[in-house]
């Protein structure tokens, strides 16, 4: 493999990992540009959309494209690419090592185990229920725990096993609504308490990354990718809303 091709491959792979794991567009472009610059190919042309990357080197004859078909959220990978790019910029690693390590990131990166994520979802549900509504009776906290934990488990399972977008949010919110429904009908919760359980339990499902990136991409002038992310966020919210609406209409 000649050097120009390796520069191209490295930059494209770095961009691909960033974009597929929740980075904003400006960071993808900036990182790829730096890689090309530091490898001695200045004025590379890089064009990044939410769904694909195009890159060409000034003297090269070819342009290469990488489509990004699916995006998940794994900010650890974003941080690692960032670290590697810094190391390359300060000459701590050379280009072939950089490329090899990027390949490593794709396959092996530390992730929090499912039980810890589940625990995190439960903590988010309970703490935010108290912070938002001021309701902190132990029984209601227990219900927030069940609803938040159950909702997140369904969300995680559907996302990782069935890989159907938006269905995961919808099913999770159905579960959350059902737990609140049980509380109201069988344990005599007031409607305000049912509301509080649902509000808390929904918080782990908030599409924080699409919302933030929709804002950042639009502000940095990426008028195609920013609104596209906003659509992603709105569809997530609608899926959650639909599930909740169905359960609430049964009250």
């Amino acid at each position: 493999m000649d050097e120009a091709q390796l520069v191209m491959d490295t930059a494209l792979l770095a961009g691909q990992i960033l974009l597929a794991n929740g980075s904003e567009i400006a960071r993808v472009e900036d990182t790829m540009q730096r890689i090309a610059d530091n490898a001695g190919y200045r004025y590379a042309n890089i064009f990044v959309l939410l769904t694909g990357i195009t890159m060409s080197l000034p003297d090269g004859e070819s342009t290469q494209v990488r489509p990004i078909h699916s995006r998940t959220i794994d900010l650890e990978k974003v941080a690692q690419v960032n670290t590697l790019s810094r190391q390359f910029a300060s000459d701590e690693i050379d280009l072939p090592t950089f490329y090899q390590q990027l390949r490593q990131i794709e396959v092996a990166v530390p992730t929090f185990p499912f039980w810890l994520q589940e625990l995190a979802a439960i903590i988010v549900s309970m703490t935010l229920m108290v912070a938002f509504t001021g309701i902190d009776a132990p029984v209601k906290l227990l219900f927030a725990m069940l609803a938040g934990g159950g909702g997140y488990a369904v969300f995680y399972y559907v996302n990782h096993e069935l890989r159907v977008r938006f269905l995961s949010e919808f099913l999770a919110s159905l579960v959350i609504g059902f737990v609140a429904y049980v509380g109201i009908h069988w344990l005599g919760f007031t409607h305000a308490a049912g509301d509080a359980v649902i509000i808390g339990a929904l918080m782990p499902l908030v599409p924080g990354v699409p919302i933030m990136n929709a804002f950042r991409d639009t502000m940095s002038g990426n008028y195609l990718s920013g609104p596209a992310r906003a659509v992603e966020a709105v569809l997530s919210v609608c899926a959650i809303g639909l599930g909740i609406a169905i359960m609430v209409s049964l009250w």
Binding site: E76, A79, V124, V130, L202
Partner: protein, 155 residues
């Protein structure tokens, strides 16, 4: 005062929890948690005296300040720890998300209270807009200090 400290601790836990869900690096979790706690505590401080029904204007100012603070602190943390800024500002934003109001929009739409739902929708839009404005102002501040630092270095 006790109230604000407790709320801050709750926000810290919620931010760290959301950070775990997003799989942010382990050594970023603690800092992100503190930023989330600071943002929520500032919001609570501003709306402290307003009783159970918080006026929209006060809520808006609180969200603006919280967004601004989170933006500035996240940028600072990103520079000090050499990490992307989104690791810090996305999780710490979560306690500010108008989840309660968004839920009330749906609830009231389904139960046939269209005008109450519209009220809440207005709140959701106002809050989201104010947080966004706060972030925008923080970017502005960060850029100004960056320029100033460079100008001082040049002399």
């Amino acid at each position: 005062m006790i109230h604000i400290i407790i709320e801050g601790i709750l926000a810290y836990a919620a931010t760290v929890g959301f950070g775990i869900i997003l799989n942010i690096p382990r050594h970023a979790l603690n800092v992100a948690g503190w930023i989330g706690a600071a943002g929520w505590a500032v919001y609570e401080l501003i709306v402290l005296k307003s009783g159970p029904q918080i006026p929209l204007a006060q809520m808006a100012i609180g969200m603006l300040t919280a967004g601004l603070l989170i933006g500035v602190l996240s940028n600072w943390a990103a520079r000090v720890k050499h990490m992307p800024v989104i690791l810090f500002n996305i999780p710490s934003l979560v306690p500010l998300v108008p989840g309660g109001q968004a839920y009330q929009v749906i609830r009231n739409l389904v139960t046939g209270h269209g005008n109450i739902a519209l009220d809440y929708l207005g709140q959701v839009i106002a809050i989201a807009g104010m947080i966004a404005l706060g972030f925008l102002l923080s970017e502005l501040l960060v850029r100004i200090t960056y320029r100033l630092r460079h100008a001082l270095k040049a002399k």
